[in-house]
Amino acid sequence: MTLLAVDVLPLLASGLATGAIYALVGIGFVLIHSVTGVINFAQGEFVMVGALSATTLVATGAPLALAFTGAVALTAAVGAIAERLTIAPARGASLLTLIIITVGVSVTLRGLALLIWGVDPRSYDPFTAGPPVDVLGLAFSRQSLWIIGVSLVVAGLLWLYLERTVAGKAMRACAMDPDAARLQGVSPSRMSLYAFALAAAVAGAAGVVFVPVTHAHYEMGLFLAVNGFTAAVVGGLVSPLAAVAGGFLLGALEALAAGLVSSSYESVIAFVVLFAVLVARPRGVIAGRA
């Protein structure tokens, strides 16, 4: 039996890397929910759109920065269009109906992706080439560091936006009290549009960064959505930063379970813990402490 510390650290590194992926997806969920109250089941598909369009752009020879910007812009546009066509007309519908509508959007996007890009997974090389990097004794692949970095930066920027800018606060006001917000001259309908576009942009960025690690294919959305949603809920659906923390927690839990207990049950353990947490603290781990 090797020392526990020697076993655990590499697992944690692996967990943080996958956790960053969940974190980035979770941020999108929190954003839309905090502004509109809707759980966007198509969030995973937004990531997929960003990922696949980036592979196409890269394949045509575009430099990475251009591919990144292009993919993010395209995904944001998709998010905005989806919101205008499906959420905006459904104003006043029950929350459950809205959720099912986003399920419909996710199915449609999946079908369109299959149409455009086919069934084979696509990929491109990591942003920076080279062997894994040593950080505080833990080995991280270079792309994983990119993912972790992007998730922290995005979360930080969003938090600043929502907490410290007038526009961001207006967004949050809409979720808390749409009528009061309207009285202040803020349009909940417009805020909803911005929230979706923003969340889609974040998802698009996530997709671009994920590709070297997860590959891009039309079905990648569901798995990401479930884990991203979990990350967001563990964070209490409160703030992007909490979602990031939730994501890391989830990733670490899965890796530890796979490495220390049994790889057959890695997913079970993660969700059992989540379930226990929700029962004990119905408002999520991180928010629940507040």
Partner: protein
């Protein structure tokens, strides 16, 4: 939940509609017995989308090409053109069942190729058996065609999971490697391989020192690989299809610097494995039918001619060769041979003809069915290939 308030007329309308519909039903549906020049309809029930799409698409492509060539060169079967009805079961069990019904019942196919995986084949089994239509499944599980008495009209042209496992273990024995670690996907496909390897370990040929599972979507398999390496194996076996298989290879080579030989089962036989694994694929060993390396097979091999024709046609049409394509190619060929032998498309006659075909020269090997065995291939029909310079190579010995 409101109170009912319908009036009598509405009820009457309902009843009237029902009667009208029943009358229409009573008139019965078309009875298609067909004439001598009608096309021979063969259904193809495969996974064109969903997790198993890499297999399903190769199957469909190969079947379509074979049918097309047979129609062009020989006018089809007994002078009747082959009409393939290709459908997508989305790797979904319910869909596979529904499509079986549609193909054999409504579309009047005289034979069916597919489904392409074990779960879809087993889920559709009820409908397959009920239809009585000769079905050449492309799934790998032995349970699809066994016990033969309970599967009178079901056949498979793919090797059983055991065959690939045995080929790997034979190679390990030849190289004097005993301690084996196994990494398989956490789904029916992976479990098939796990059980096959476990059985061989019980027989004593190898020591299975560690076995781990991973999810197809996992982007990082290093936790599982570490656990396997901790057990100090002489070799690793990986039982997965792309994109899982190349992910494992990359993780092993790039992150963990694995230096023990790694064997992949036939699921890795697609171009996708090479594309996604990139440079890390070099040195990986894969179990495959000879069809994958058709252009490296020596000219004196008994199946050289068939392989040449198949390889040229398939790569000419689709570019890259796929290790899966051969099975579907052979399926079409065997159906043709059976119909010609029986001079009939009647299900019972076709089944007997298939069982009595004897040695059929296919591109996957020498295929043979019998009343006792509806599985056509054996361990002689697969080889161990190694990836060199971005391509699969056939060791000169075989």
């Amino acid at each position: 939940m409101r109170d009912p308030s319908s009036a009598a007329p509405r009820r009457g309308l309902l009843v009237g509609l029902a009667l009208a519909a029943l009358v229409a039903v009573g008139c019965g549906s078309d009875d298609d017995t067909g004439s001598d020049n009608d096309p021979i309809r063969i259904g193809v029930n495969v996974e064109l989308s969903g997790p198993a799409s890499v297999l399903g698409n190769a199957y469909a492509d190969a079947a379509k090409l074979r049918a097309e060539l047979l129609n062009e060169q020989e006018g089809g079967i007994l002078g009747r053109p082959i009409e393939l009805i290709v459908t997508d079961n989305r790797s979904d069990q319910t869909e596979a069942l529904t499509l079986t019904e549609e193909l054999t019942d409504r579309k009047k196919a005289v034979a069916m190729i597919g489904p392409g995986t074990s779960p879809t084949s087993l889920a559709a089994m009820g409908a397959i058996l009920k239809s009585g239509v000769p079905t050449l499944s492309l799934g790998s599980a032995e349970a699809i065609v066994s016990p033969a008495a309970e599967r009178p009209n079901v056949f498979k042209t793919t090797p059983d999971g055991d065959v690939a496992a045995r080929a790997i273990v034979d190679d390990l024995e030849r190289r004097g490697l005993r301690r084996v670690g196994l990494l398989s996907t956490n789904n029916p496909y992976g479990d098939d391989g796990l059980q096959a390897v476990e059985r061989l370990a019980e027989e004593g040929a190898i020591d299975l020192v560690a076995a781990e599972k991973f999810e197809e979507e996992d982007s990082d398999t290093t936790p599982q690989l570490r656990r396997l390496l901790d057990a100090d194996p002489d070799a690793l076996i990986v039982w997965a299809i792309p994109p899982g298989a190349p992910t494992v290879r990359r993780d092993a080579v790039e992150k963990l610097d694995v230096d023990v030989p790694m064997y992949f089962d036939s699921g890795a036989g697609a171009e996708l494995f090479l594309t996604l694994a990139g440079a890390s694929a070099h040195g990986a060993r894969v179990v495959q039918p000879r069809s994958l390396v058709w252009n490296q097979v020596p000219d004196d091999h008994p199946l050289a001619e068939e392989l040449e024709e198949f390889g040229n046609a398939y790569t000419g049409e689709y570019g890259e060769m796929s290790g899966f394509a051969g099975y579907a190619w052979d399926s079409v060929g065997m159906l043709k041979a059976a119909i010609e032998s029986a001079r009939s498309t009647e299900p019972g006659a076709m089944v007997r003809a298939l069982e009595g075909l004897g040695d059929y020269p296919g591109v996957s090997g020498t295929l043979e069915f019998s009343p006792q065995s509806h599985s056509a291939l054996s361990a002689d029909d697969v080889v161990i290939l190694e990836v060199r310079a971005g391509a699969w190579t056939l060791p000169r010995r075989r």
